[in-house]
């Protein structure tokens, strides 16, 4: 079976800064891939190129067989690959319910009644049934991020991209968000997660990708990558994280 996500020789620069250098990466359907690496290593850029929130410069990106370089396939790619953001990016002028129901109506063509019903179920699934009619600014950061996850799930995507989903949260709220993601990992949806939570990475990942300076340096199952790192850059990175 073809991989659900396929990157071949992907390059991306911001001016003179090369954010991604010749990235090759395949992700199989149902896999949970965690991307780690120092800040500025290109991990966020990598997943933002998958749904073309950032356009890549060269190389090919395929999502479920669709070519991300083709503008006519962009909307389909974005419906196949949902995204959860570091800063939640909920729409502040809409209730949580509306945040979740909006895209199914506008993109999938559901009626509001159908979409609201779906949204209520999803909000219940992330433990926020009671908060559906509140506005994002009435919720805690952890709750907002769970709404963000429900919003991405509402499109019934095949892939979910998490861009540092807990980095903007107070420490006591990190757990509730990671729990929701861990539950998702068991449902068979493909997850690609950029995170600094190493314990979490070890628990949920099928594979861990270590990036440094715009390159994929090492890929492997978590026990190998964390317990027997090969590349010196990975060893330095892990040491720096463990010592803090």
């Amino acid at each position: 079976m073809a991989p659900i996500i396929e990157l071949r020789a992907v390059d991306k620069s911001y001016g003179a800064f090369k954010a991604l250098k010749a990235i090759d990466l395949c992700v199989e359907a149902g896999e949970v891939v965690v991307v780690i690496g120092p800040s500025g290593s290109g991990k966020s850029t990598l997943i933002r190129c998958i749904n073309q929130i950032e356009a890549h410069d060269s190389g090919t990106i395929r999502v479920n067989g669709l070519d991300a370089g083709r503008p006519d396939q962009l909307t389909r790619i974005r419906t196949e690959a949902g995204m959860v953001f570091q800063n939640f990016n909920l729409f502040p002028h809409m209730s949580c319910l509306r945040n979740v129901a909006l895209a199914p109506v506008r993109v999938r063509g559901l009626t509001w009644a159908e979409a609201n019903e779906r949204a209520r179920k999803l909000l219940a699934r992330v433990g926020l049934a009671e908060q559906a009619d509140k506005f994002p600014n009435q919720l805690s950061g952890g709750q907002q991020q769970r709404v963000g996850i429900a919003r991405a799930l509402a499109m019934e995507p095949k892939v979910l991209l998490f861009d540092e989903p807990t980095s903007a949260l107070d420490p006591e709220m990190v757990g509730e968000v990671l729990d929701v993601i861990q539950q998702l990992a068991r449902t068979g949806v493909t997850l690609i997660i950029v995170t600094h939570e190493m314990g979490f990475a070890r628990r949920v990942a099928n594979r861990v990708v270590f990036m440094d300076a715009g390159r994929v340096v090492e890929v492997g199952p978590p026990n190998l990558l964390f317990d027997a790192p090969q590349d010196p850059r990975l060893r330095t990175f892990l040491n720096s994280i463990l010592s803090t």
Partner: protein, 223 residues
Amino acid sequence: MSVFETFLNWKVFADSLPLLLMGLRITVGLGVAAILLGAVGGLLLALLRLYGPAPVRFLTITYINVFRAIPLLVLLIVIYYALPFVGLRLTSFTSATLALSLVSAAYSAEILPAGIEGVPRGQAEAARALGLSKSRQMTDVILPQAIKLVIPPLTSNAINVLKDTSLASVVAMPDLLKQATQAEALAANPTPLIGAALIYILLLLPFVSLVGLAEVRLARRTR
């Protein structure tokens, strides 16, 4: 004659009030029409300026600059007195609405992009990531938030438009000021002018204080 009899003559005021109120209706009608047309035109110009192809952007910016530079009274007189020479004869109401809308659109077009750019980038990213079309990103996500940001400056602009309706009296528009000057001539007493001034103030004072409040609130929130 005492100062009161001259400037605040109750009988003259009472006599002229029906005329003044007729004028007020025209002033408000003209103001509302120009504000609405100017807002629609301003929104179109703002979108063209932000998202149009380069030549369109250039034309839009030229329009905005020209109509911010031309004095409204001059524009009004050109429309009302000069256009008939090329066969375009507009009523005083149409001329005034046109002049006010053209200028108000230019000012709105200057204000709205600031609001659109004031919406955090993550909002557009989230809208894109959900697969919303370009126009849906705008109408569902960006504009509702942008408009909130620009309500104080847009209200200021609307206040200016309402005030500037008084210029229409020079093209024989029977607005509040025109009615007041006529009543003054009729009564040989300036009280109607004072009355008109008070009506303008009463009409606009609530909006002026609202803008003041909103600006204080915005400043507090962004601090």
